[in-house]
Amino acid sequence: MPAIPIIMPQLGESIAEANIIGFLVKPGDVVEAGQDLIEVETNKANMTVTSPCGGQIEKLTAQLNESYPVGAALGQIATTNEEIARLGLEVSTAAKPGDTDRVAKAGNGGQNRVRPTVRGLPVPANAAGASYLSPRLKARMTEMGLSAADLAGVAGSGAAGRVTVEDFEKFIAQLEKQKMSQASTMRVAVADAMRRSWTRPIAHVGMPVCLDPLFAYRKVTRPKPGPALCALRALAVALAENSAPAGRLVGSKIVHPSAIDIGFAVEAEDGVLVPVLRNADKRPLKDLVAPYNELVELARQRKLPPDVTGGSIATVTNFGTFGLEWATPIPLPEQTLVLGMGAARHAPNWDSVKGQFVPIMEANLTLSFDHRVLDGGAAGRLLQRVAALMSKPDTL
């Protein structure tokens, strides 16, 4: 009887191999086409290898707890010629265990062709595809000071949608027909920073925080800390407790912050400056107010000395000053986190004690983060901690 090999299928994009974790059938069993035969584990999920046809399991050559690449032979099913014809299958003859890349065609004079071990890798082997930039295109882009981000809006007419030099020249020609003004140096610098930051997978979480305790605290305190500074201090304390969320991923290593220096965004002319409060975890809230206000003023005047910018491990941005309730800021390219504060507003809050809605002052607190370093859970916990700290401003 002819035999069909049981092959490790392509289990998902970027999966190259899978681990055998269980057998659902044994040699001798009669199976149907599509029936689950072998359980495998990939780095994403547990899946099953199903039968290519109806027939009888002749042998299972795969070993438990061994890994096999996509396309490897895991066993053999004896079947009928009708079944083979019906499904249009290839027949294996005397395929040795582990002989993963030679499948001879039976009855064809033993025509031996070496087949690749892994079929249909989604990775392009040659230069094709939407993201390919030819040397000539790169040279032109360099000449014009452009980066791949600038071409985002260009539809490519090349193979698989790549942007060819012709597409590029047409795009430039079109641009030149429109009104153009020179972007400021600040704008270009911010653009570059945002572009670089965006090469990472950025995610956002948010929650409302009650500001009543903070406003009460402010009434009796001098100098008065603003909500954003309060959030900054709370973030510093939370990161001092656990600095991992502010770590940076470089390759396969997490680089931990050495000092809890937190920056805060100040709008200045055509861009954003980020002065830094050093060791914000070691200075109580009341001691931060004056330095904070001074830095804001200096920033607005573009007179920040060099030692107060750079080196921060996270940033706080108060988009609430623009009346925004929520936003999805982008962390600085060298940072993992940016904490955002929305506009304060009156909101109804359910008071379960009173059994009714009571008015409170509320603002949205957001955390935008590099998803390679932390997941939603860790982000949520950090935000919770910040909110909790902000509800007790006198402890900050």
Binding site: S134, P135, R136, G158
Partner: protein, 321 residues
Amino acid sequence: MSLTYLEAIREAQARALRDDPRVFIYGQDVGVFGGAHKATKNLAKEFPGRVLDSPISEDAIMGLAVGAAIEGMRPIVEMQFADFSTVGFNQIVNQAATLFWRTNVPCPVTVRLPFGGTSGSGPFHSQCMETVYAHYPGLIVLTPATVEDAYSMLLEAVAINDPVIFCEHKFLYYHLKAEKLPSEALPVGKARIAREGRDMTIVAYSAMVHEALEAAKELAPEGWEVEVVDLRSVKPIDTDTVMASVARTGRLLCVGEAWPWGGVTAEIIARVVSEGYGLLDAPPQRLNAKDTPVPYHPNLWMAHRPTHHAITAAARNLLRK
């Protein structure tokens, strides 16, 4: 008066014999018989004692030519077929090609090689030899593709003070005709833009230029303007002209009738990639004969070498990249 590529070669030799008493022609059957291809027809009669039959001795033929050159003559050697020049290979590459470098005495020998395939000629009457000769320092290798170039480049070859390997394509002998002989020409060493274009460059030489032009014609109705560069000489290669063409088009296809390993197509691509990487909008491609000896049967022969069909297909592929 129209004349063929072959007649142009004959006319050039006649003119060389007439204008310069130092010129003589030496080879097998070149005398009264006029040569196996009739390239020296009537020349023995018109120039008695200057068109001489040799024995079948390619080594001695070349050695004699070198000696004659040392003595101040300007010999034209006709190898009956390029394929037979291998018997004289040693004298060409080790004697003629090294003389100037070793002794400062120039060696003004012109070796005419009837090369390239014609249907039915088989493995030993069809070879393209330009690659092996171009590889050796000390030789100039010419590959005229037109009747006019066959004439003017042969005249210039005889005048050049170095050994020149003059590759005349046997298929073009009778298939190419021109109205008249040129009065002026591009000098040896300069490539010619045989067809101007915009979308891609095909670099070719000798008979393949015509196949490339045919392919360009086929692609024109589809909106593609293909530029064809006729190298004219493969040693030296006019790299500047090739580079300027690729600068205009960004896409390069090299076509050669010789075998794939090494060769003119590989040389062009190596130069363009290393000196003009930033000019390329797509990977450069090449088309050569199959990596087997040249077959005899027309079915096999036609599939063995690049034809305008193959060129068109390769060009379309490149244009779509």
